[in-house]
């Protein structure tokens, strides 16, 4: 192994400080000190703290997710309620419309029936009037025919028997 006196023998090269055993004790001592200090720092302070922070963040995220889930459920509920209200309103509207329709129909029917009745009454009255008029007209036709027949008979020189003429007119107008 190299010693400092030997290194001059080599062409410009110096010995490897890594193999200088006189410094090993020093290095090992300080290394152990450094490792122990780091270990204490890590295990006492740093690692528990970082673990706590990470756990806390995980907890926060979980909570936030749960809250979001809650809100979502609420939103779905609200939507359902809205849909239900909408359906209710629609059914109500339909019911009202149907009711109105039947009401109107009933009114209409009544009005139509009344109108029919009135029409029928009017028609009957008219018929009666027509019948009266017709009867009146027949009477007049008989009278006119009797008068005419009497006038014809007297004009032809005969004397007209009122009863015979009336009978003849009745006979003829019967058909």
């Amino acid at each position: 192994m190299a010693s400092n006196t030997q290194e001059a023998a080599h062409g410009g090269g110096s010995a490897m400080p890594q193999l200088d055993f006189s410094t090993f004790g020093n290095q090992i001592f300080w290394l152990v000190v450094a490792l122990v200090v780091i270990y204490l720092i890590l295990s006492r302070v740093a690692l528990p703290r970082i673990a706590a922070v990470l756990a806390e963040r995980q907890g926060t995220i979980t909570n936030d997710l749960a809250a979001a889930e809650d809100l979502k459920a609420k939103a779905v509920e609200a939507e359902n309620a809205y849909n239900k209200a909408l359906a209710d309103a629609r059914a109500e509207a339909q019911r009202i419309a149907a009711e109105t329709r039947t009401e109107i129909q009933a009114g209409l029917d009544e009005a139509i029936a009344k109108a029919d009745e009135q029409i029928a009454a009017k028609a009957a009255e008219s018929e009666k009037a027509i019948a009266e008029i017709k009867a009146g007209a027949l009477e007049s036709v008989k009278a006119v025919a009797t008068d005419t027949a009497e006038a014809l008979v007297s004009a032809l020189g005969g004397s007209a028997d009122k009863d015979a003429v009336a009978a003849a007119v009745a006979e003829r107008t019967k058909g």
């Binding site: 190299a2 023998a9 490897m16």
Partner: protein, 78 residues
């Protein structure tokens, strides 16, 4: 050891030992290349194997470092 012949032997030996570094380079390239070939065939499995890749590279490289160390010892420590 004393004298120029010994020094010559040291330097020649150190040079020969340095060949090992090149061999280690081939080895590391082999490892990395084969990993890449496999990773391109099945990219989804590649991510889980990077640790294995580094272990393989480390083992291959360690032997190159040994030869480098031998070269250093010959140069500076014998």
């Amino acid at each position: 050891m004393e004298g120029d012949i010994a020094q010559l032997g040291q330097f020649v030996g150190a040079g020969l030992a340095a060949i090992g570094s090149g061999a280690a380079a081939i080895g590391v390239g082999h490892v990395a290349g084969n990993f890449l070939a496999g990773a391109l065939r099945n990219p989804s499995a590649a991510a889980g194997q990077t640790a294995t890749l580094f272990i393989g590279i480390a083992f291959a490289e360690a032997l190159g470092i040994f030869s480098f160390l031998v070269a250093l010892l010959l140069m500076f420590a014998v």
